[in-house]
């Protein structure tokens, strides 16, 4: 058709605008990118009610698990938006949340050798007082504007607050705000020249906050209301700064509390400024681990709601659109996938190879087998180093005893069907599979959906048709690659994390492609003793590497036994994040582990070309395995050349 034909133009226009919409709906997967639309897409997670109580809460979750979205949703601006921006709902709210993202660039100003540690503690405590009081005063200002309320805090209480804050005497909310702002500027100038001394008067830790909330508690407007300080990215605080905040959490007044958002392992210090006083769950706070709360079907339900709410907003005039993400992203059973991967040819080869040697009764049983079952039997024969004929005879004698073996090995056997072949070697398709790749991380899930739908559109498929397994797999590979390349920019350990994932990814890829005679689906590791008697003996370098890897989602850790103490490195098993599995081609399922030493881990980072073959040799695997096509761009890193 002529490209200037009206129908073509229309179709291109529609497709372009659909792609734009998809980008808006699924491409803006970071909370900060959504701006005011954040609340339009808000989906209530199951754990939200636990956060809405008046108890301190610590919300633990990696980057992209939805901490910011939830905490912003609890803020007064968020609650207002979620109520449909109805002013009359403001007064009805049981709580008011004050959102604060910890800004590294600010809190790092309170470090350095110029003053004693104890002075930094006092200075930082004063800064926190200014910061939190400012948040409250801004809220009061907002509240007055939006509710048209004509109230002020008692003037004598305002004076108490200003005295406590060590700012100019103030008689009203407005004066408190003005004087606090000018005190902050003076304090900023002081911090910028902190070595000169001339310290301005500073407030006592927490005292002005208590004074302010005492005054608020006496205002009829806020009788019975609770205020939440929603402190996001707690990991950005220095250790002593966490102690300062911990102290506030521990001793918060009656009408305010803290809801803390932090990455796993980001809450490094649990004590208050009194080293003997620890914050303990559940006595002092409620710990909510997002990934633990959103496991399995719970995450699937949540993810489905998030995606379907966005799909419902797709507006493609005159064209049908699948509105269910489960239907849009169909999966395949292992049997179906094996067929697509080419198992039929292999099964035919096996059959023709044994047809002339097997007894007719055995052959009859063999002919009843599915191609994948036959391939698993071949796999078993290779593993046990026995002939396929012997295995088939054994199977024919007692097929029921093989049921469990089929179940255990059919997934692992998929990885060798297209071994050493070009193109897709294993499919990663289906909403269920995507949920497992995301491992409780809603941002990863949305990225996977976004990339799948975009690829689908770019391949000229309509949104009324489901996305093919090929498109889903390619999207999953791309998302893995993108997140691998992003690791480097996430932290000061970024380069090491990228190398760790490249090393582990290669090891698990080879192990998946050469599964014969080994435990299937290995994608985890546990640190071996290496002669150390306890986990505190793990070299600091390795300990830091593993902690950074967990914090930035290169690895997922889980207790190796139920008695594991949080923070002990060796007592955990580590799973390479499943989001990387499609890129490297290994199993996304949480299955089996191998042992690695601290030296192995460091070697993967520092000398990958030496340590990858060494680790594989210990596992009786050969490093000759070809790299999957999508990994070829790292062949120089692996010291390999294309064949």
């Amino acid at each position: 058709m002529d490209s200037s034909h009206p129908a073509t133009i229309m179709s291109e226009r529609v497709s372009f605008s659909t792609e734009e919409q998809l980008s808006e709906l699924f491409g803006s997967y970071k909370a900060e990118w959504l701006k005011e639309r954040l609340f339009d897409y808000f989906t209530t997670p199951d754990y939200l009610p636990e956060l809405m109580t008046s108890r301190p809460c610590v919300l633990v979750g990696g980057r992209g698990t939805g901490k910011t979205t939830v905490l912003r949703g609890l803020s007064y601006e968020g609650q207002f938006a979620l109520s449909g921006s109805k002013a009359d709902k403001i007064r009805e709210s049981r709580f008011y949340g004050l959102y604060l993202r910890v800004n590294t660039n600010r809190v790092m100003a309170f470090t350095g050798p110029e003053v004693e540690h104890s002075t930094w503690v006092k200075l930082f405590g004063h800064y926190v007082n200014l910061l939190l009081c400012d948040l409250v005063l801004k809220f009061l200002d907002w509240y007055k504007i939006y509710t048209n309320a004509d109230f002020d805090l008692d003037w004598s209480l305002c004076r108490d607050i200003s005295n406590s804050l060590q700012i100019d005497s103030s008689d009203s909310i407005l004066e408190l705000s003005t004087h606090l702002n000018s005190a902050r500027l003076k304090f900023e100038a002081y911090i910028n020249n902190v070595a000169d001394g001339n310290r301005p008067p500073i407030s006592m830790q927490g005292a002005p906050i208590d004074a302010l909330f005492d005054a608020i508690g006496q205002a009829s407007e806020f009788a019975g209301k609770t205020f939440f300080f929603l402190v996001d990215e707690y990991e950005n605080f220095e250790d002593y700064q966490q102690q300062v905040l911990n102290t506030l959490v521990k001793h918060a007044g009656n009408n305010y509390t803290f809801k803390i958002g932090v990455r796993e392992l980001g809450w490094r210090v649990r004590s208050t400024l009194n080293a003997n006083e620890q914050l303990i769950s559940p006595a002092d706070y409620v710990r909510i681990n997002i990934v633990e709360k959103l496991q399995g079907d719970t995450f699937k339900r949540f993810a489905s709601s998030v995606c379907n709410a966005r799909l419902a907003r797709l507006d493609v005039p005159g064209l049908a659109v699948i509105r269910s993400i489960e239907e849009a992203l169909p999966g395949m059973s292992e049997e179906e996938e094996a067929v697509v991967l080419g198992v039929n040819e292999l099964a035919t080869e096996i059959k023709s190879g044994v047809a002339h040697v097997l007894a007719p009764n055995v052959l009859h049983v063999v002919n009843q087998l599915t191609p994948l079952q036959l391939w698993v039997l071949r796999f078993w024969a290779d593993s046990q180093k026995v002939s396929i004929e012997d295995v088939l005879v054994d199977y024919a004698a007692s097929p029921e005893s093989w049921a469990e073996r089929f179940n255990n090995y059919k997934h692992a056997s998929l990885y060798r069907i297209r071994r050493r072949k070009r193109g897709i070697r294993k499919y990663y398709a289906g909403f269920d599979v995507f949920c497992q790749l995301a491992a409780g991380n809603i941002r990863y899930l949305i990225e996977l959906v976004d990339q799948s739908l975009l690829r689908h559109l770019r391949d000229q498929h309509p949104l009324s048709a489901p996305v093919t397994p090929e498109s889903q797999t390619t999207a999953a590979q791309n998302v893995g690659k993108k997140n691998l390349s992003e690791l480097e920019g996430l932290s000061v350990h970024g380069a090491q994390l990228t190398k760790l994932v490249l090393g582990l990814g290669r090891v698990f890829q080879v192990m998946a492609a050469q599964p014969e005679g080994h435990a299937p689906e290995v994608n985890q590791f546990h640190l071996t003793d290496d002669g150390q008697q306890k986990s505190s003996d793990v070299p600091v370098e390795v300990d830091n590497l593993l902690k950074a890897a967990v914090m930035h989602l290169a690895l997922i850790r889980f207790p190796a036994n139920k008695l594991a103490d949080e923070g002990e490195t060796r007592d955990y098993d580590y799973l390479i994040h499943p989001v990387f599995s499609a890129f490297f081609v290994f199993s996304y399922r949480k299955k089996r582990k191998m042992l690695l030493s601290a030296n192995d881990l460091l070697g993967l980072v520092k000398s990958p070309q030496e340590y990858i073959p060494r680790i594989l040799a210990k596992q009786h695997r050969s490093n000759d395995e070809e790299l999957p096509e999508q990994v070829l761009l790292f062949e120089a890193y692996y010291g390999r050349r294309s064949r």
């Binding site: 900060e32 590294t104 660039n105 350095g112 910028n192 070595a195 480097e488 996430l490």
Partner: protein, 316 residues
């Protein structure tokens, strides 16, 4: 690309062999691991009557310098010590060579110096070449940084003013290292559509802007910030200064969060802007540790008439 502005040209291009500081002036400099930061004895001998002051040690919180026959340590977060240091420089005209000085050293020095000396002339020597990475990956074409220390304010430029996250415009001054852009962006978390990168055009060399795009491709694409890119001459702080003024005018309600992670002249422009503006601004810097062999040779020498700018902001 913005229109050509009617602003004074305060950058002069020359080369090392042609450049001789004025007699009676002082020449403040430091040496780094890079060849281009070092002066030859022969060059210094040609600059008769010039008082050379070398910063001998650059630490996180202070620098050391030999003045009046004495070794002195100057704290970077001490206005009093910085003022005394400038007062002890025995000339009204000071050449301030930032080539071999780290950002965290020259920025606080400049903050104090501009109000004390009638004429400060910035000096910068371009590298002859950057060292290519042996195993280049996306975002790492050149082998420039050993590692980064992390986000922390430049001494004297800490800002404690809180802005709401939505009222932020993020302005990364891009270099070749895309991972640094990604890292800073991860910390700033700018709102969608409000990242306005500045790329050095023309670059030190004609092909450098393409390397900049290539190195930063992933974060530029992901954040869609490629749509907002602006350009400023890579070796001219004033071009960046004016570009920042334009961006501030485009986003009048926003705090500018400027990441000076590109060329040193661009970083100088960002610091000058932070000193000059009365609008809310925050410098966000990641403190890289430079690789010893990151550059080779020398190219053009640039002179910047720093005192010609009105630097009346709260940070000056």
């Amino acid at each position: 690309m913005g229109a050509v502005r009617d602003e004074p040209v305060l950058t002069i291009e020359t080369n090392i062999s042609a450049f001789i500081p004025e007699p009676g002036s002082s020449y403040l400099f430091g040496t780094s691991v890079e060849e281009r930061s070092a002066h030859s004895a022969e060059w210094e001998s040609r600059a008769a009557g010039v008082h050379f002051i070398r910063l001998t040690d650059q630490q996180g919180a202070f620098f050391s310098v030999e003045m009046m026959g004495q070794q002195r340590k100057v704290l970077l977060r001490s206005r009093e010590q910085l003022v005394q240091f400038w007062k002890d420089i025995p000339s009204d005209v000071v050449y301030f060579d930032i080539t071999g000085l780290s950002h965290h050293i020259w920025a606080p020095l400049l903050r104090v110096g501009v109000s004390l000396k009638p004429r400060i002339i910035g000096v910068y020597v371009e590298p002859g070449d950057y060292r290519p990475s042996l195993t280049p990956t996306e975002g790492e074409i050149f082998d420039l940084s050993e590692r980064i220390l992390g986000i922390a304010p430049l001494p004297g430029f800490a800002s404690l003013a809180e802005s709401t996250d939505e009222d932020v415009c993020f302005v990364p001054l891009l270099g070749f290292e895309g991972t640094r852009f990604a890292y800073v962006m991860e910390h700033v978390q700018p709102p969608g559509g409000k990242t306005v990168p500045i790329i050095g055009v023309p670059g030190f060399r004609i092909e450098y802007p393409f390397y900049t795009y290539h190195g930063n491709r992933a974060p530029l694409t992901e954040s869609r910030a490629w749509r907002n890119v602006r350009f400023a001459r890579a070796n001219c702080p004033f071009s960046v200064f004016y570009a920042l003024q334009d961006i501030a005018a485009t986003y009048p309600r926003d705090t500018l969060k400027i990441a000076p992670i590109g060329t040193k002249p661009h970083a100088l422009g960002a610091v000058l802007y932070a000193m000059a503006t009365l609008k809310p601004v925050e410098l966000v810097y990641d403190h890289p540790i430079r690789k010893a062999t990151r550059t080779a040779g020398t190219s053009r020498l640039l002179l910047y008439q720093l005192s010609a700018l009105p630097l009346a902001g709260s940070r000056a």
